[in-house]
């Protein structure tokens, strides 16, 4: 099966996260993922986009995020690209919710959620472009045994 690609570009504002979730829902359902996996993709991609908006672009809404869905016969990949400050996964510590609550800290667990929900999460940077790739393999997540 040849791979199919779908693209969505949004301004770097949280008001468009809902559009991203609808876009992901449409294509994960079309690819045959079960309801649980569809929800997992929506949350993981939302977390990735939220991190780009809040951290790579520091909340400035004048930039863009490019979201690309690639459907292959054995996997479903979402690539999110930005031109902001690159994320350094090696500097990320797994969150301790008791510690965060003590510090009244409202964030810092998006990456943890992405890693838990996806089969594979990969960060890369080339020149000014950063990319995060979220992948789930189709075999164990499809309905009707496709």
């Amino acid at each position: 099966m040849a791979s199919s690609t779908y693209k969505l570009t949004i301004p770097s504002s949280t008001r468009y996260l809902e559009d991203v979730r609808r876009f992901i829902e449409t294509h994960t359902v079309e690819a045959g993922f079960n309801t649980q996996s569809v929800e997992q993709f929506k949350v993981a991609v939302d977390e990735a986009c939220t991190n780009v908006i809040k951290h790579a672009y520091s909340g400035e809404d004048s930039h863009e995020l490019n979201i690309k869905v690639i459907v292959d016969s054995d996997r479903f990949t979402v690539c999110i690209r930005d031109k902001g400050v690159a994320f350094r996964p090696k500097e990320y510590n797994e969150p301790d919710i008791f510690e965060l609550a003590k510090r009244r800290q409202a964030g810092g667990f998006g990456v943890h959620i992405m890693r838990r929900l996806m089969d594979h999460v990969e960060y890369s940077s080339q020149g000014k472009v950063n990319e995060v790739r979220l992948t789930k393999y189709l075999n164990s997540h499809v309905k009707n045994g496709r």
Binding site: S13, T14, V43, Q105
Partner: protein
């Protein structure tokens, strides 16, 4: 327009927040404002009814994290009730059931507050 809203209901010393729609990094500020309003009104016992909450991301969870210690230090708490399974799954991913009382029904959450007060 945001597809998230918070309704307030007052039941004696407990304030019930009815969450509706999708809670993400865009709408989390509305939940934050609702919890702040409870604090401003000196109501520290909060039940969050999630029956009509269709979605949550970590930004929504973060609001609960940011306020729980302050509310508990005032003798209050946030108890979370009636979550849809897909929303509960996100709470569960981060181990929230260890930090928060998450129960099946609003009545159960209110009973937990009542039991706490009787014990005090």
């Amino acid at each position: 327009m945001s597809n998230f809203s918070v309704g307030f209901r007052s039941l004696q010393s407990v304030n019930v927040l009815d969450l509706k729609g999708e809670l993400d990094a865009h709408t989390a500020s509305e939940l934050e404002a609702a919890i702040k309003k409870c604090q401003d009104d000196s109501i520290y016992q909060i039940v969050v009814n999630g029956a009509n909450l269709n979605y949550i991301s970590s930004a929504g969870l973060g609001v609960f994290m940011a306020y729980i210690e302050d509310l508990r230090s005032k003798g209050g708490d946030i108890k979370i009730a009636a979550l849809q399974p897909k929303v509960f799954n996100v709470f569960d991913l981060l181990g929230f059931p260890m930090l928060f009382d998450i129960v099946d029904t609003e009545e159960e959450a209110i009973e937990k507050f009542d039991a706490q007060q009787t014990a005090e």
